[in-house]
């Protein structure tokens, strides 16, 4: 199959740069994800890859073919690149039936692809709706139709722009699985843009975390989660507990323990980041925990887990703490109960202070 490579791409709108010197590769037959908040430039990169946005600086390679290169003065328009793209709003043509939409991009001579489209409609349960118009279809049906339309001309690479954002949460989880199975079955090189880290991790073999127009980290989903390169990446998966401190003797000391900081310069200010799910609380049942115990401030059951806020007052040299923990299942102690705080070190990270 084909890989997609962007090299040294910079891009701006009306003189305001949105992408800075970005390079990455979407490997053949894998799903690569551009993950980041809105406005970080990820959709711009997708559109540059598609040829919908004129390249301003850099180079785009599709397989062994350079499709855009500002140095060489090449910039193939989208229609000559053989890319499949699925749009956030699906962009189904309102005047065409579902079937006509799906076969829209198939060249007249490719009867084999028309056959493929018919079979795919069958497999996805859309065959009965082939003659319906887009406005008669549900969100999920429109979404599947948009995917089939993008895949029908047998593109060399599939580009997905927030493909699940139009679906409600229950449907999204179900569709995501079918979608991934379909991608793996066809083995198409895929570049996915999303702002939802869970979605990015679920769908991808390779995640590129973007922020401020740059790629901050390129790694496997597990590494992005467990080895974030900075506090920004660590916070991508939700708010974290942030405890300030100073590096002393290769560690940062906090009221709930010492954290290894051998990678930081001695004496510099640092911050310890702990994910709520990395904190385990144990009720002490009256056992002595010192004169200034950590107590439960609030506990809220949110379904599969409980959000618990715990803390202790600042006294003298002790700066006090205020932590948010996510306990699995039901954990609803009385307010004011004293607890022991345990930190799972794979969810705790030490970074320099910003």
């Amino acid at each position: 199959m084909t890989m997609l490579r962007l090299e040294d791409v910079s891009h701006g709108f009306h003189g305001v740069p949105v992408v800075w010197d970005v390079s990455f590769t979407a490997r053949s037959a894998e799903v690569t994800c551009l993950l980041g908040p809105s406005g970080c430039g990820k959709t711009t990169l997708l559109r540059i890859a598609a040829g919908l946005e004129r390249l301003q600086q850099g180079r785009v390679t599709l397989g062994d073919r350079v499709v855009a290169d500002t140095g060489a003065g090449i910039d193939l328009p989208a229609e000559q690149r053989s890319v499949g793209m699925m749009f956030q709003d699906y962009a189904l043509f309102p005047h065409l039936t579902l079937y006509e939409n799906v076969v829209f991009g198939i060249p007249a001579r490719r009867s084999d692809r028309r056959e493929w489209a018919r079979r795919a409609l069958d497999q996805t349960g859309l065959a009965g709706l082939a003659q319906s118009y887009p406005h008669m279809l549900s969100g999920g049906q429109q979404q599947r139709a948009a995917l089939l339309r993008a895949m029908a001309p047998e593109p060399r690479v599939l580009l997905l722009d927030e493909p699940f954002s139009g679906l409600d949460i229950t449907l999204r989880l179900q569709v995501r699985e079918e979608f991934l199975a379909f991608l793996k079955q066809t083995g198409v090189t895929t570049l996915l843009v999303t702002h939802d880290p869970e979605e990015g991790m679920f769908m991808s073999d390779h995640v590129l975390v973007m922020g401020g127009g740059r790629v901050l980290q390129a790694a496997t989903p597990a590494d992005v989660y467990f080895k974030p390169v900075n506090d920004y990446v660590a916070e991508l998966f939700g708010p974290v507990n942030r405890i300030p401190g100073t590096v002393r003797a290769g560690a940062v000391e906090t009221p709930i323990g010492c954290f290894n900081a051998a990678h930081l310069t001695e004496g510099t200010p640092a911050q310890v980041l702990i994910r709520p799910e990395g904190i385990t609380l144990t009720l002490t049942h009256g056992d002595s925990t010192g004169e200034n115990p950590v107590t439960v401030l609030s506990a809220r059951l949110v379904g599969r887990s409980t959000f618990v806020r715990v803390g202790c007052r600042a006294t003298g040299t002790n700066r006090g703490i205020d932590l948010r923990a996510r306990m699995p299942g039901v954990f609803l102690p009385e307010l004011g109960s004293a607890v022991l705080v345990d930190v799972n070190l794979s969810h705790a990270f030490v970074f320099p202070s910003r």
Binding site: D8, S10, G12, P17, W20, D21, R47, A50, G51, L52, R54, L55, Q56, Q57, T70, G73, I74, D75, P77, A78, E79, Q80, R81, S82, V83, G84, M85, F87, Q88, D89, A91, F93, P94, H95, F104, G105, P107, Y133, R149, A150, A152, P153, P155, L159, R214
Partner: protein, 569 residues
């Protein structure tokens, strides 16, 4: 930590942006530039004139032209504002019998060109006409010294005639604005203790102001463009002046100078209109649109409202059509035996030609500027579309001059190289008039097509591109099928304006070439009004077409509901 800022200097970007020069961008630039030539010609002619007629004009007729034009356009503007806004408010927010019929019927006078209604009322109201005849009989008067009767062929007459047929422009826009107003603001006003009248003057009217200003400025542009009425009534406006200086004083540059003054005035109006269009977008503070509740009127009020709506329709449409119908039937044999069919054929051919060319060019311009996203092109397209605001007599100056230059150039070229004289190839042909029509009416089609294109999300274009379909095929396979109805509307609008067009046709037509409009004008100036009935009626009948189309659409144009025209099977 921060990497070096990428170097993107201006010249690199310019070069890169031009890597994909496409025919659309180039074609649109060329078309827009060609359409802009007549406007530039008028300005250049005025600046470069050497036979200086200006001081002479300034000391003699100019002050009179200016005064008459200002009074005429001011009065017509005010009259149409009162009738248009008032009737729009009545049919939109009050409930009385016949409201739904009035809603559409109030548009009918739009179908009647001002010069035709002027001819009809002259016929009816002059000394020998039926009204004065009836009065003399009833009161036993014997001559005009026995009584006073308003003279129709006067400035006041011209104001009345134009007001009667132009108020629908204000009505249409004001009505749309009232419909778009969130019902909440009106209800807030009522809960704060303001009755219907005070709510109208303090809330609804100020909110609708941009739309009303746009409508009124359109009316004033139409007033400035009018030639038939003012010529017939001997009211000396600028347009008459241009015609007079050019054809009677034989001074092209003098005409161009007058035209430039008028152009300046019109451009001011256009700027005003555009400013109001921009501010119109920010007016809606809430997005709650429920069906407007409407004030239920008691019997007396309902009768008052119904008469207020009925009078403009009667005077602006029913009476003139009745008179024309009578003339058409009585004089059917002479009228149809004449060259009625030939004139109709000429009118249809010209209007159809203009409509077809205008729609194709408008589509090219609108689509070209959409896909290139080029600001320069966008500006050029807007400038080219100013043609609609330019009086026909002014445009005629601007179109004929470059065409004549081209003819002479071609002639000398052909004589020099092949020894053949091509003579005046384009000037004074049907091609010249078509060019004039296209330049004048392009705005109608560009505007309609642009509005319709704007409703198609850009991701449709992108989707087609990534599916391997080029810009041309995308237009053919995606945009055209979706916009079919709007394109038809654009064509109909241009067609009807072509049927009505008088001043430009009069100046530019080939020798002995008559359209329905010019023929009606000729007959009217020879006091043979009765014979023009059939021709006039034909023009009015064609004018009813867009009225039907528009009235189908407007009832469904509240936000949240799609316009009927854009709905596809």
């Amino acid at each position: 930590m921060t990497p070096a800022v990428p170097v993107m200097n201006q010249s690199t970007r310019w070069r890169l942006a031009r890597l994909r020069i496409d025919v659309w961008w180039l074609g649109a630039i060329v078309i827009a530039a060609l359409v802009a030539i007549p406007l530039l010609t008028v300005i250049l002619l005025a600046l470069a004139s050497n036979d200086d007629i200006w001081p002479h004009l300034a000391s003699t007729v100019l002050p009179h032209y200016i005064k008459t034009t200002l009074v005429l356009s001011g009065s017509v503007g005010f009259g149409t504002f009162v009738i248009g806004t008032g009737t729009a408010w009545l049919v939109t927010l009050c409930r009385f019998p016949g409201r739904r019929v009035f809603e559409c019927a109030l548009l009918l006078p739009m179908a009647v060109p001002a010069y035709i209604i002027a001819y009809v009322y002259t016929d009816v109201l002059e000394y020998a006409g039926p009204v004065q005849g009836l009065l003399r009989e009833a009161f036993g008067w014997t001559s005009s010294r026995d009584y006073w009767f308003p003279e129709i062929r006067s400035l006041g007459g011209a104001v009345s005639m134009m007001t009667l047929v132009l108020y629908p422009y204000v009505y249409l826009l004001a009505r749309a604005a009232f419909l778009e107003q969130s019902v909440c603001v009106l209800e807030v006003s009522r809960t704060l203790g303001r009755g219907p009248w005070r709510s109208f003057f303090t809330v609804a009217l100020p909110l609708a102001r941009p739309a009303i200003v746009i409508g009124t400025s359109l009316v004033i542009m139409e007033t400035l463009n009018d030639f038939g009425t003012v010529d017939f009534f001997a009211v000396n406006t600028f347009t008459v002046g241009i015609y007079d200086v050019w054809l009677n004083m034989n001074s092209l540059s003098g005409a161009a100078q007058l035209a430039s003054v008028l152009l300046l005035f019109v451009l001011g109006l256009v700027a005003l209109e555009r400013a109001n269009r921009r501010s119109q977008r920010f007016h809606h503070t809430t997005s709650k649109y429920r069906p407007l509740p409407g004030y239920r009127l008691g019997a007396w009020h309902a009768m008052g409202a119904a008469s207020a709506c009925l009078v403009p329709i009667l005077l602006g449409f029913a009476v003139p059509c009745g008179v024309l119908l009578k003339h058409a039937i009585v004089h059917f044999d002479e009228a149809s035996a004449g060259e009625y069919l030939a004139h109709t054929f000429n009118s249809l051919t010209l209007s159809f030609l203009a409509a077809a060319v205008t729609v194709v060019l408008g589509l090219f311009l609108a689509y070209g500027s959409r896909i290139s996203g080029d600001r320069l092109l966008g500006g050029l397209v807007r400038f080219a579309a100013v043609g609609y605001a330019i009086p026909g007599a002014v445009l005629a100056v601007g179109v004929l001059h470059p065409l004549g230059r081209f003819d002479n150039f071609l002639d000398s070229l052909m004589r020099g190289t092949f020894g053949i004289s091509t003579g005046l190839l384009l000037s004074g042909t049907i091609i010249a008039i078509t060019v004039g029509y296209v330049v004048r009416f392009l705005a109608l089609s560009v505007g309609t097509v642009e509005a319709s294109l704007a409703k198609i999300t850009p991701s449709m274009d992108d989707a087609a591109r990534t599916l391997g379909i080029g810009p041309g095929a995308t237009l053919r396979r995606v945009h055209l099928p979706i916009m079919r109805a709007s394109i038809l509307t654009a064509g109909v609008l241009v067609f009807v304006d072509g049927m009505k067009e008088l001043p430009m046709t009069l100046i530019m037509r080939p020798f002995n070439f008559e359209t329905l409009a010019t023929n009606v004008y000729q007959l009217a100036s020879r006091e043979l009004l009765e014979q023009s009935g059939l021709g006039s009626l034909t023009i009015v009948a064609a004018g009813i077409l867009p009225v039907l189309v528009i009235s189908l659409v407007i009832g469904r144009s509240r936000p949240g509901q799609e316009g009927a025209l854009e709905v596809d099977p």
